[in-house]
Amino acid sequence: MSQFLEISGLCAQIDADGQEKQILRGVDLSIPPGEVHVIMGPNGSGKSTLSYVLAGREDYEVTAGTATFHGQNLLAMEPEERAAAGLFLAFQSPIELPGVNNANFLRTAVNAVRRARGLEELDAVAFLKMAREAAKALSMAPDMLKRNVNVGFSGGEKKRNEVLQMTLLQPTFAILDETDSGLDVDALRIVAEGVNRLRAPTFSALVITHHQKLLDYLVPDRIHVMARGRIILSGGPELARQIDQEGYTKFLAEVA
């Protein structure tokens, strides 16, 4: 019942040029604590939409279904409340914030979340020490804390910056939306290690990916295949290898 993350019959649409476009068509998904689940699926199947809807982006209108997190109605919460409750979305295309210093941004976020969680705020010194250590563990250049958020970052640097944010915000549930895309093998390993460091009986992740490679480092508990706005198939880690070798066509044909 009040499991960790429960999604049931979730439908969502977006207003595209005055036309309502249905993207999620009844997503059912249950993620217990301590597990890493993976969503795979062809482009346009609704994977990123699902992650945005869970994180609270307003462009999407939820038309049916429920999503609960720690028993709370996730869909009724503001994005910042979801973050405070422990949800984190690593963006597929991290947003650039010109004029916003990365360290200030990170500290503001960490302290906002700490405040909401009833913890004491960190002063600049304590925060910087923590941030520098976390950045170092992700092999990030020290100057990335001094630069503007994601401005002029390479694709790989942006993804590492997402993982850095995740590390500092200490979520209990992280959605990684194609965090592996555009990463070379070394970066992929570093990012995966960043996620693995958070693994605990109280931490779960939903990983959206197209590639088996990430899953070599980030051993998943369960694989879901999404198509046309629904989860059409779920299975163990072997499903990912099968898709990697055979593609989606076979699975899509089976449920068509």
Partner: protein
């Protein structure tokens, strides 16, 4: 004071009783020009977006001889306490357009005198073309006359102009002259602040001689009921730099008009600015940058944040004369509208008569970016705080153009003090 006569032409009537008896050639000529043109209405192209209706229906009296010292002290402290470094800088304080020696801490490395003792109208002002300069010319009583001797680095000087008005609306029309001689360097920080209903109409005549540098930051924090219409002329010599920045925050109606003249080769002019306005405020940043010699550079970045019913005006003209080959000009005006009732009127103009130049200009208008807001909120930052971060960042990119670290920090401190926690949607 005379009551407003409806027969007289427009707002000029408000000064009528003070316009009668000009003495000296400059004042008489300016009074003549003013009598011909009157004050501009919106049919005059340069004033199309800024109406002087706001001058209202009241007469503007000459400032009284006595001003309450504690009020001046409080206003001055408000300026100086914005940042700890400010109180230590040399300063020249004007109260209602008159030098106030008791509040000044005069600089050492410069030659100082005052318009009240030896009137200097400068060579650049054009009372026949600019009625507000004509008005200043007729009514000017005092002003700073500052000269940095050749080769001297004079460090910082603050010029603080305070307006203190009581029940009766006042106007004052200071006439300032700043000369930075050959290879000299000055960092000039002008601050305008005040309280009550007053009309501040300064004219500043600037000469930056060959090889010299003037870094000029103007902080516009006039009182909430104030009208401030200032005109500034800058003559820029060979290999010299006039680097200016205006931060517009206060006043009811404020216009900052700059005429920069690149008179000799390899000069450099920056006419940057930022304004953050709300309520019924109107802020007008107008500039004419003339390239009259080859190999000069001009840069202009102006950012506007407009909330409530505020209106921003940007008029920026870059004129490249035929002789001004290899001109490098850049102009950008950007506006962030925080409310559906806020407005920006932008009129960028390039007028180019040379054929080998590089000039570009652009303008953007928009609201806060939804994706950026969502990104911040998804990291746990509450909406009002997220909005504030994005507004600050937008302005800060303009403030970052201020090269002088002291002036830059001063601008940031004033912004932070005025707007902390004001990111709520209106």
């Amino acid at each position: 004071m005379n009551a407003l006569s409806k027969d007289m032409s427009g707002p000029l009537a408000l000064f009528a009783n003070r316009l009668n008896t000009p003495t000296g050639a400059e004042r008489q000529s300016a009074a003549g020009a003013l009598a011909r043109t009157g004050l501009p209405d919106r049919k005059v192209e340069a004033w199309r977006y800024t109406a002087l209706r706001a001058l209202g229906k009241q007469d503007y009296a000459a400032p009284p001889e006595q001003v309450d010292a504690s009020t001046v002290r409080a206003l001055l402290d408000g300026v100086l306490q914005a940042h700890p470094a400010m109180a230590a800088l040399p300063r020249v304080v004007f109260v209602n357009g008159r030098h106030a020696p008791a509040f000044s801490a005069l600089p050492d490395d410069v030659d100082l005198s005052f318009f009240a003792h030896e009137p200097q109208f400068g060579l650049q002002a054009a009372p026949d073309r600019d009625p507000l300069v004509a008005l200043n010319t007729v009514l000017a009583e005092d002003g700073l006359v500052l000269r940095v001797p050749a080769g001297v680095d004079a460090g910082h000087v603050m010029l603080i102009s305070l307006g203190v008005a009581g029940a009766e609306p006042l106007s004052f029309h200071p006439r300032h002259t700043v000369v930075v001689e050959k290879d000299a360097h000055l960092r000039l920080i002008c601050v305008q602040a005040g309280q009550g209903t007053y009309f501040h109409n300064p004219v500043m005549d600037i000469r930056v001689e060959d090889g010299a540098t003037l870094e000029h930051v103007t902080l516009q924090t006039e009182g909430a009921q104030a009208i401030s219409l200032g005109t500034l002329y800058a003559h820029v010599g060979h290999q010299s730099v006039y680097d200016s920045f205006v931060l517009g925050l206060g006043g009811l109606l404020v216009r900052h008009e700059v005429h920069a003249h690149l008179a000799a080769t390899r000069g450099e002019v920056h006419v940057n600015g930022a304004q953050r306005l709300a309520g019924q405020q109107v802020g007008d940043i107008t500039s004419v940058i003339t390239h009259a010699a080859s190999d000069c550079t001009s840069r202009q970045t102006v950012r506007n944040v407009l909330d409530g019913h505020a209106r921003g005006v940007f008029q920026g003209k870059v004129l490249v004369e035929r002789i001004a080959q290899k001109t490098d000009g850049y102009q950008m005006n950007q506006a962030l509208l925080l409310s559906p009732d806020a407005e920006i009127d932008a009129k960028p103009e390039l007028e180019i008569y040379a054929d080998d130049v590089r000039c570009s200009h652009g303008a953007t208008v928009g609201a806060l970016d939804d994706e950026q807001l969502f990104y911040l909120r998804s990291r746990g930052i509450p909406e009002h705080e997220a909005r504030q971060i994005l507004i600050d960042a937008f302005l800060d990119e303009a403030v970052a153009l201020v090269v002088d670290a002291t002036a830059q920090t001063f601008c940031r401190s004033v912004l932070a003090a005025r707007f902390a926690g004001k990111g709520e949607p209106s």
